[in-house]
Protein backbone atom coordinates (compact mmCIF):
# COMPACT_ATOMS: atom_id res chain seq x y z
CA UNK A 1 0.00 0.00 0.00
CA UNK A 2 1.97 2.63 1.31
CA UNK A 3 3.67 5.11 -0.91
CA UNK A 4 0.40 6.28 -2.44
CA UNK A 5 -0.96 7.26 0.97
CA UNK A 6 -0.51 10.86 2.06
CA UNK A 7 2.77 11.46 3.87
CA UNK A 8 2.45 15.02 5.12
CA UNK A 9 1.46 14.02 8.64
CA UNK A 10 3.81 11.08 8.90
CA UNK A 11 6.66 13.24 7.64
CA UNK A 12 6.05 15.83 10.36
CA UNK A 13 6.10 13.12 13.00
CA UNK A 14 9.16 11.34 11.60
CA UNK A 15 11.08 14.62 11.41
CA UNK A 16 10.34 15.46 15.04
CA UNK A 17 10.98 11.91 16.16
CA UNK A 18 14.42 11.99 14.58
CA UNK A 19 15.21 14.79 17.03
CA UNK A 20 13.65 12.81 19.89
CA UNK A 21 11.13 15.62 20.16
CA UNK A 22 7.85 13.73 20.18
CA UNK A 23 5.63 13.40 23.19
CA UNK A 24 4.42 9.93 24.03
CA UNK A 25 1.03 10.42 22.45
CA UNK A 26 2.52 11.65 19.19
CA UNK A 27 5.03 8.81 19.25
CA UNK A 28 2.21 6.31 19.54
CA UNK A 29 0.36 8.08 16.76
CA UNK A 30 3.45 7.80 14.58
CA UNK A 31 3.67 4.09 15.31
CA UNK A 32 0.08 3.64 14.24
CA UNK A 33 0.59 5.62 11.06
CA UNK A 34 3.70 3.69 10.14
CA UNK A 35 1.88 0.45 10.79
CA UNK A 36 -0.97 1.54 8.55
CA UNK A 37 1.46 2.32 5.75
CA UNK A 38 3.15 -1.01 6.24
CA UNK A 39 6.80 -2.04 6.38
CA UNK A 40 7.15 -1.89 2.61
CA UNK A 41 6.22 1.76 2.29
CA UNK A 42 9.24 3.09 0.47
CA UNK A 43 8.35 6.70 1.14
CA UNK A 44 8.15 6.08 4.91
CA UNK A 45 11.51 4.30 4.87
CA UNK A 46 13.03 7.11 2.85
CA UNK A 47 11.71 9.74 5.22
CA UNK A 48 12.96 7.83 8.24
CA UNK A 49 16.40 7.40 6.70
CA UNK A 50 16.69 11.00 5.56
CA UNK A 51 15.58 12.62 8.80
CA UNK A 52 17.68 10.27 10.88
CA UNK A 53 20.64 11.29 8.75
CA UNK A 54 19.84 14.98 9.22
CA UNK A 55 19.48 14.60 12.98
CA UNK A 56 22.69 12.63 13.24
CA UNK A 57 24.60 15.29 11.37
CA UNK A 58 23.41 18.05 13.68
CA UNK A 59 25.45 16.40 16.41
CA UNK A 60 28.60 17.01 14.39
CA UNK A 61 28.29 20.70 15.17
CA UNK A 62 29.51 20.07 18.67
CA UNK A 63 33.16 20.26 19.51
CA UNK A 64 34.47 16.73 20.15
CA UNK A 65 34.97 15.96 23.83
CA UNK A 66 38.15 14.17 24.83
CA UNK A 67 37.49 10.77 26.28
CA UNK A 68 39.09 9.66 29.50
CA UNK A 69 42.41 7.94 29.06
CA UNK A 70 41.11 4.51 29.97
CA UNK A 71 37.85 4.72 28.07
CA UNK A 72 39.02 2.81 25.02
CA UNK A 73 40.59 -0.08 26.89
CA UNK A 74 37.63 -0.25 29.26
CA UNK A 75 35.28 -0.40 26.31
CA UNK A 76 37.23 -3.11 24.54
CA UNK A 77 37.56 -5.09 27.76
CA UNK A 78 33.83 -4.88 28.27
CA UNK A 79 33.27 -5.88 24.67
CA UNK A 80 35.55 -8.87 24.90
CA UNK A 81 34.31 -9.83 28.33
CA UNK A 82 37.79 -9.89 29.75
CA UNK A 83 40.04 -7.49 31.51
CA UNK A 84 42.65 -5.71 29.39
CA UNK A 85 46.20 -6.92 29.57
CA UNK A 86 48.71 -4.08 29.69
CA UNK A 87 51.20 -4.47 26.86
CA UNK A 88 54.63 -5.36 28.16
CA UNK A 89 53.41 -5.69 31.71
CA UNK A 90 55.47 -8.14 33.75
CA UNK A 91 53.69 -11.40 34.27
CA UNK A 92 53.44 -13.03 37.63
CA UNK A 93 55.65 -16.01 38.28
CA UNK A 94 54.06 -19.16 37.13
CA UNK A 95 52.64 -21.33 39.89
CA UNK A 96 54.24 -24.72 39.96
CA UNK A 97 51.27 -26.87 40.86
CA UNK A 98 48.82 -25.96 38.16
CA UNK A 99 51.49 -26.21 35.51
CA UNK A 100 51.85 -29.90 35.97
CA UNK A 101 48.15 -30.35 36.14
CA UNK A 102 47.83 -28.69 32.76
CA UNK A 103 50.20 -31.14 31.14
CA UNK A 104 48.11 -34.01 32.40
CA UNK A 105 44.97 -32.27 31.33
CA UNK A 106 46.37 -31.74 27.85
CA UNK A 107 47.17 -35.41 27.50
CA UNK A 108 43.75 -36.51 28.61
CA UNK A 109 41.93 -33.86 26.69
CA UNK A 110 43.77 -34.72 23.51
CA UNK A 111 42.36 -38.17 23.74
CA UNK A 112 38.81 -37.04 24.16
CA UNK A 113 38.81 -33.93 22.03
CA UNK A 114 35.49 -33.35 20.42
CA UNK A 115 34.46 -31.01 17.77
CA UNK A 116 30.75 -30.39 17.96
CA UNK A 117 28.54 -28.43 15.64
CA UNK A 118 26.85 -25.40 17.00
CA UNK A 119 23.29 -25.11 15.93
CA UNK A 120 21.86 -21.73 15.34
CA UNK A 121 24.74 -19.66 16.54
CA UNK A 122 26.80 -17.41 14.38
CA UNK A 123 29.25 -14.66 15.07
CA UNK A 124 28.24 -12.81 11.97
CA UNK A 125 26.18 -13.41 8.88
CA UNK A 126 27.77 -16.16 6.81
CA UNK A 127 30.87 -16.45 9.01
CA UNK A 128 33.67 -18.18 7.20
CA UNK A 129 35.61 -20.93 8.92
CA UNK A 130 33.93 -20.99 12.31
CA UNK A 131 34.85 -23.91 14.51
CA UNK A 132 33.46 -25.25 17.71
CA UNK A 133 35.07 -27.24 20.45
CA UNK A 134 33.19 -28.74 23.37
CA UNK A 135 34.91 -28.75 26.74
CA UNK A 136 34.54 -31.81 28.93
CA UNK A 137 35.35 -32.58 32.53
CA UNK A 138 33.97 -32.90 36.00
CA UNK A 139 31.60 -29.96 36.00
CA UNK A 140 27.94 -30.45 35.21
CA UNK A 141 26.55 -28.66 32.22
CA UNK A 142 27.72 -27.96 28.74
CA UNK A 143 30.38 -25.51 27.55
CA UNK A 144 31.46 -24.96 23.97
CA UNK A 145 33.86 -22.49 22.46
CA UNK A 146 33.09 -21.03 19.05
CA UNK A 147 36.14 -19.53 17.41
CA UNK A 148 37.69 -18.72 14.09
CA UNK A 149 41.27 -19.82 13.46
CA UNK A 150 43.50 -16.83 12.89
CA UNK A 151 41.31 -14.48 14.89
CA UNK A 152 41.65 -13.86 18.59
CA UNK A 153 38.01 -13.37 19.44
CA UNK A 154 35.61 -16.16 20.24
CA UNK A 155 32.40 -16.85 22.04
CA UNK A 156 31.91 -19.26 24.89
CA UNK A 157 28.52 -20.90 25.13
CA UNK A 158 27.42 -22.26 28.50
CA UNK A 159 24.36 -24.23 29.50
CA UNK A 160 23.49 -25.76 32.84
CA UNK A 161 26.68 -24.83 34.67
CA UNK A 162 26.55 -24.65 38.45
CA UNK A 163 26.99 -21.30 40.15
CA UNK A 164 30.72 -20.94 40.93
CA UNK A 165 29.62 -19.58 44.32
CA UNK A 166 31.41 -17.69 47.08
CA UNK A 167 32.49 -14.70 45.04
CA UNK A 168 34.28 -16.96 42.60
CA UNK A 169 34.20 -16.85 38.83
CA UNK A 170 34.83 -19.22 35.98
CA UNK A 171 37.91 -18.40 33.99
CA UNK A 172 38.70 -19.65 30.52
CA UNK A 173 42.33 -20.35 29.56
CA UNK A 174 44.06 -21.19 26.34
CA UNK A 175 47.44 -22.67 25.60
CA UNK A 176 49.00 -21.17 22.44
CA UNK A 177 51.27 -24.16 21.82
CA UNK A 178 52.24 -27.40 23.48
CA UNK A 179 54.22 -26.73 26.63
CA UNK A 180 53.46 -23.00 26.64
CA UNK A 181 52.01 -21.40 29.71
CA UNK A 182 48.27 -20.98 29.91
CA UNK A 183 46.91 -17.58 28.97
CA UNK A 184 43.75 -16.05 30.40
CA UNK A 185 40.93 -15.73 27.89
CA UNK A 186 38.20 -14.21 30.01
CA UNK A 187 36.12 -14.66 33.13
CA UNK A 188 32.42 -15.35 33.39
CA UNK A 189 29.85 -16.09 36.03
CA UNK A 190 26.85 -16.79 33.88
CA UNK A 191 25.75 -20.41 34.10
CA UNK A 192 23.72 -20.14 30.91
CA UNK A 193 24.28 -17.99 27.88
CA UNK A 194 27.20 -16.71 25.88
CA UNK A 195 30.19 -14.54 26.62
CA UNK A 196 32.82 -13.07 24.28
CA UNK A 197 36.33 -14.32 25.01
CA UNK A 198 39.79 -13.62 23.69
CA UNK A 199 41.62 -16.83 22.92
CA UNK A 200 44.57 -15.85 20.78
CA UNK A 201 44.90 -16.51 17.10
CA UNK A 202 45.78 -20.17 17.64
CA UNK A 203 45.79 -22.58 20.55
CA UNK A 204 46.12 -26.25 21.30
CA UNK A 205 44.20 -26.44 24.54
CA UNK A 206 41.36 -24.61 26.24
CA UNK A 207 40.21 -25.13 29.81
CA UNK A 208 38.01 -23.65 32.52
CA UNK A 209 38.90 -23.25 36.18
CA UNK A 210 37.17 -21.67 39.15
CA UNK A 211 39.09 -18.61 40.30
CA UNK A 212 38.66 -15.82 42.84
CA UNK A 213 36.27 -13.12 41.65
CA UNK A 214 35.64 -10.73 40.26
CA UNK A 215 38.69 -10.58 38.02
CA UNK A 216 39.96 -14.12 38.08
CA UNK A 217 43.67 -14.93 38.22
CA UNK A 218 46.61 -14.23 35.93
CA UNK A 219 47.54 -17.91 36.14
CA UNK A 220 45.37 -20.91 37.03
CA UNK A 221 45.20 -21.53 40.77
CA UNK A 222 43.00 -24.59 40.71
CA UNK A 223 42.44 -27.77 38.76
CA UNK A 224 40.56 -27.39 35.52
CA UNK A 225 36.97 -28.52 35.66
CA UNK A 226 36.52 -28.52 31.89
CA UNK A 227 38.99 -28.75 29.05
CA UNK A 228 39.46 -29.66 25.44
CA UNK A 229 42.41 -30.12 23.15
CA UNK A 230 42.16 -28.63 19.71
Amino acid sequence: MSSRLPHEEVEALIAADALDGLDDTDRQHLDRLLASHGPDCTECRRLEADYAEVAGRIGLLLEPEPLSSKAEDALVAAALGSRPEAPGAPRRARAVGPGRRWMAVAAVAAAVALVAGVVGYTLAPNPPGLRTVTLQGTAPGHVSLVYQPGRSSGVLLAAGLADPGGGKVYELWYQPSAGARMRPAGVFTSTDGSVPVSVGTSFVLVAVTVEPGPDGSPQPTSNPILSAAV
Partner: protein
Protein backbone atom coordinates in the same frame (compact mmCIF):
# COMPACT_ATOMS: atom_id res chain seq x y z
CA UNK B 1 29.31 16.06 -2.36
CA UNK B 2 28.28 13.53 -4.97
CA UNK B 3 27.57 9.98 -4.03
CA UNK B 4 30.52 7.73 -4.74
CA UNK B 5 29.63 4.90 -7.02
CA UNK B 6 31.72 2.19 -5.50
CA UNK B 7 31.45 -0.36 -2.81
CA UNK B 8 33.93 -2.22 -0.68
CA UNK B 9 31.56 -5.13 -0.30
CA UNK B 10 31.96 -8.30 -2.30
CA UNK B 11 29.40 -8.62 -5.07
CA UNK B 12 27.44 -11.30 -3.30
CA UNK B 13 26.93 -9.15 -0.22
CA UNK B 14 26.27 -5.91 -2.01
CA UNK B 15 23.04 -4.22 -1.12
CA UNK B 16 21.32 -2.48 -3.98
CA UNK B 17 20.44 1.20 -3.76
CA UNK B 18 22.74 1.91 -0.85
CA UNK B 19 24.09 5.41 -1.15
CA UNK B 20 27.65 5.99 -0.08
CA UNK B 21 27.70 9.57 1.14
CA UNK B 22 31.44 10.08 1.20
CA UNK B 23 34.78 8.36 1.35
CA UNK B 24 34.63 8.51 5.15
CA UNK B 25 31.25 6.86 4.99
CA UNK B 26 32.65 4.06 2.86
CA UNK B 27 35.50 3.58 5.31
CA UNK B 28 33.11 3.52 8.25
CA UNK B 29 30.97 0.89 6.61
CA UNK B 30 33.98 -1.26 6.01
CA UNK B 31 34.97 -0.88 9.65
CA UNK B 32 31.49 -1.91 10.78
CA UNK B 33 31.70 -4.98 8.57
CA UNK B 34 34.99 -5.84 10.20
CA UNK B 35 33.45 -5.35 13.63
CA UNK B 36 30.82 -7.88 12.60
CA UNK B 37 33.72 -10.27 12.15
CA UNK B 38 34.89 -9.41 15.68
CA UNK B 39 37.81 -7.27 14.53
CA UNK B 40 39.01 -5.50 17.65
CA UNK B 41 41.19 -3.04 15.73
CA UNK B 42 38.26 -1.91 13.63
CA UNK B 43 36.23 -1.44 16.78
CA UNK B 44 38.96 0.68 18.34
CA UNK B 45 39.24 2.75 15.18
CA UNK B 46 35.54 3.51 15.18
CA UNK B 47 35.69 4.46 18.83
CA UNK B 48 38.65 6.78 18.32
CA UNK B 49 36.98 8.33 15.32
CA UNK B 50 33.55 8.94 16.79
CA UNK B 51 33.84 8.50 20.56
CA UNK B 52 34.75 12.16 21.16
CA UNK B 53 31.91 13.63 19.11
CA UNK B 54 29.51 11.06 20.54
CA UNK B 55 30.57 12.15 24.00
CA UNK B 56 29.97 15.77 23.03
CA UNK B 57 26.40 14.93 22.02
CA UNK B 58 25.76 13.02 25.23
CA UNK B 59 27.42 15.65 27.39
CA UNK B 60 25.40 18.40 25.81
CA UNK B 61 22.27 16.67 27.04
CA UNK B 62 23.16 15.03 30.34
CA UNK B 63 25.73 17.63 31.51
CA UNK B 64 27.71 15.11 33.50
CA UNK B 65 30.93 13.79 32.08
CA UNK B 66 30.86 10.38 33.68
CA UNK B 67 27.29 9.85 32.56
CA UNK B 68 28.09 11.04 29.05
CA UNK B 69 30.98 8.63 28.80
CA UNK B 70 28.84 5.83 30.09
CA UNK B 71 26.24 6.52 27.43
CA UNK B 72 28.91 6.49 24.75
CA UNK B 73 30.30 3.22 26.07
CA UNK B 74 26.84 1.67 26.01
CA UNK B 75 26.26 2.83 22.48
CA UNK B 76 29.57 1.39 21.26
CA UNK B 77 29.05 -1.84 23.16
CA UNK B 78 25.76 -2.12 21.38
CA UNK B 79 27.61 -1.75 18.07
CA UNK B 80 29.98 -4.54 19.08
CA UNK B 81 27.22 -6.84 20.22
CA UNK B 82 24.91 -6.22 17.31
CA UNK B 83 26.70 -4.54 14.40
CA UNK B 84 23.86 -5.63 12.11
CA UNK B 85 21.65 -3.09 13.88
CA UNK B 86 23.30 -0.51 11.64
CA UNK B 87 21.80 -0.94 8.21
CA UNK B 88 23.65 0.75 5.41
CA UNK B 89 20.50 1.70 3.54
CA UNK B 90 19.53 3.96 6.45
CA UNK B 91 22.40 6.40 5.99
CA UNK B 92 25.88 7.00 7.30
CA UNK B 93 27.23 5.13 10.27
CA UNK B 94 28.25 8.31 12.05
CA UNK B 95 24.75 9.80 11.80
CA UNK B 96 23.25 6.53 12.94
CA UNK B 97 25.66 6.31 15.85
CA UNK B 98 25.10 9.89 16.95
CA UNK B 99 21.36 9.38 16.77
CA UNK B 100 21.71 6.29 18.92
CA UNK B 101 23.73 8.26 21.46
CA UNK B 102 21.19 11.06 21.33
CA UNK B 103 18.32 8.65 21.97
CA UNK B 104 20.13 7.21 24.97
CA UNK B 105 21.00 10.60 26.39
CA UNK B 106 17.47 11.90 25.96
CA UNK B 107 16.08 8.77 27.57
CA UNK B 108 18.47 9.31 30.42
CA UNK B 109 17.55 12.91 31.12
CA UNK B 110 13.85 12.28 30.79
CA UNK B 111 14.06 9.27 33.02
CA UNK B 112 15.95 11.08 35.70
CA UNK B 113 14.22 14.40 35.28
CA UNK B 114 17.55 16.01 34.68
CA UNK B 115 15.93 19.21 33.58
CA UNK B 116 15.43 20.08 37.20
CA UNK B 117 19.04 19.39 38.07
CA UNK B 118 20.56 21.50 35.35
CA UNK B 119 20.83 24.62 37.40
CA UNK B 120 23.37 22.90 39.61
CA UNK B 121 25.34 21.29 36.82
CA UNK B 122 27.95 22.62 34.47
CA UNK B 123 26.82 25.42 32.18
CA UNK B 124 25.67 24.48 28.75
CA UNK B 125 28.29 24.43 26.08
CA UNK B 126 27.54 26.48 23.04
CA UNK B 127 27.29 25.16 19.55
CA UNK B 128 30.68 25.70 18.05
CA UNK B 129 31.00 28.96 16.21
CA UNK B 130 34.78 29.06 16.03
CA UNK B 131 36.32 25.90 14.76
CA UNK B 132 38.88 25.54 17.48
CA UNK B 133 38.95 21.81 17.00
CA UNK B 134 40.31 21.95 13.49
CA UNK B 135 43.07 19.50 14.14
CA UNK B 136 40.71 16.93 15.46
CA UNK B 137 38.19 17.60 12.78
CA UNK B 138 40.77 17.32 10.03
CA UNK B 139 41.93 14.08 11.45
CA UNK B 140 38.40 12.84 11.40
CA UNK B 141 37.88 14.25 7.92
CA UNK B 142 34.71 15.90 9.11
CA UNK B 143 35.62 19.49 8.48
CA UNK B 144 33.68 19.91 5.29
CA UNK B 145 30.66 18.18 6.72
CA UNK B 146 30.68 20.39 9.79
CA UNK B 147 30.95 23.49 7.65
CA UNK B 148 27.97 22.43 5.59
CA UNK B 149 25.91 21.72 8.67
CA UNK B 150 26.84 25.02 10.24
CA UNK B 151 25.90 26.91 7.10
CA UNK B 152 22.67 24.99 6.75
CA UNK B 153 21.71 25.77 10.34
CA UNK B 154 22.64 29.43 9.90
CA UNK B 155 20.40 29.69 6.85
CA UNK B 156 17.35 28.56 8.78
CA UNK B 157 14.90 31.24 9.87
CA UNK B 158 15.75 31.89 13.53
CA UNK B 159 12.37 30.69 14.89
CA UNK B 160 12.85 27.35 13.15
CA UNK B 161 16.48 27.06 14.21
CA UNK B 162 15.61 27.83 17.80
CA UNK B 163 13.10 25.01 17.97
CA UNK B 164 15.39 22.46 16.35
CA UNK B 165 18.20 23.40 18.71
CA UNK B 166 15.98 23.16 21.77
CA UNK B 167 14.84 19.75 20.63
CA UNK B 168 18.23 18.33 19.70
CA UNK B 169 20.63 20.04 22.08
CA UNK B 170 18.33 20.37 25.09
CA UNK B 171 16.35 17.17 24.63
CA UNK B 172 13.00 18.91 24.89
CA UNK B 173 9.76 17.68 23.43
CA UNK B 174 7.58 19.78 21.20
CA UNK B 175 5.07 20.24 24.03
CA UNK B 176 7.78 21.41 26.41
CA UNK B 177 9.06 23.87 23.83
CA UNK B 178 5.56 25.20 23.15
CA UNK B 179 5.09 25.76 26.87
CA UNK B 180 8.46 27.39 27.31
CA UNK B 181 8.12 29.73 24.33
CA UNK B 182 4.42 30.41 24.85
CA UNK B 183 3.60 29.18 21.35
CA UNK B 184 0.73 27.02 20.16
CA UNK B 185 1.83 23.40 19.82
CA UNK B 186 0.82 23.46 16.18
CA UNK B 187 3.23 26.30 15.53
CA UNK B 188 6.08 24.37 17.08
CA UNK B 189 5.21 21.34 15.01
CA UNK B 190 5.04 23.25 11.76
CA UNK B 191 8.32 25.06 12.45
CA UNK B 192 9.94 21.73 13.23
CA UNK B 193 8.83 20.28 9.93
CA UNK B 194 9.80 23.33 7.91
CA UNK B 195 13.21 23.50 9.54
CA UNK B 196 13.90 19.83 9.06
CA UNK B 197 12.80 19.96 5.46
CA UNK B 198 15.23 22.79 4.81
CA UNK B 199 18.05 20.90 6.49
CA UNK B 200 17.21 17.79 4.56
CA UNK B 201 17.37 19.71 1.31
CA UNK B 202 20.60 21.47 2.24
CA UNK B 203 22.44 18.50 3.65
CA UNK B 204 21.25 15.53 1.69
CA UNK B 205 20.42 16.74 -1.79
CA UNK B 206 24.09 17.17 -2.52
CA UNK B 207 24.70 13.56 -1.62
CA UNK B 208 22.34 12.28 -4.26
Amino acid sequence: MPTLAFSLVPEARRTPDVAVHSLEDARDRELVRRVANRDEDAFRTLFRRYGPVAKAVALRLVRQRFMAEEIVQEAFLSVWRDPAAYREELGTFRAWLLSAVHHRAVDSIRREEAHRRRATQAPAEQVTEEDAGDLVVERLQLQETRGRIRRAMAELPPPQRQILEMMYFDGKTQSAIAGELGLPLGTVKSRTLLGMRRLRASLLEGDR
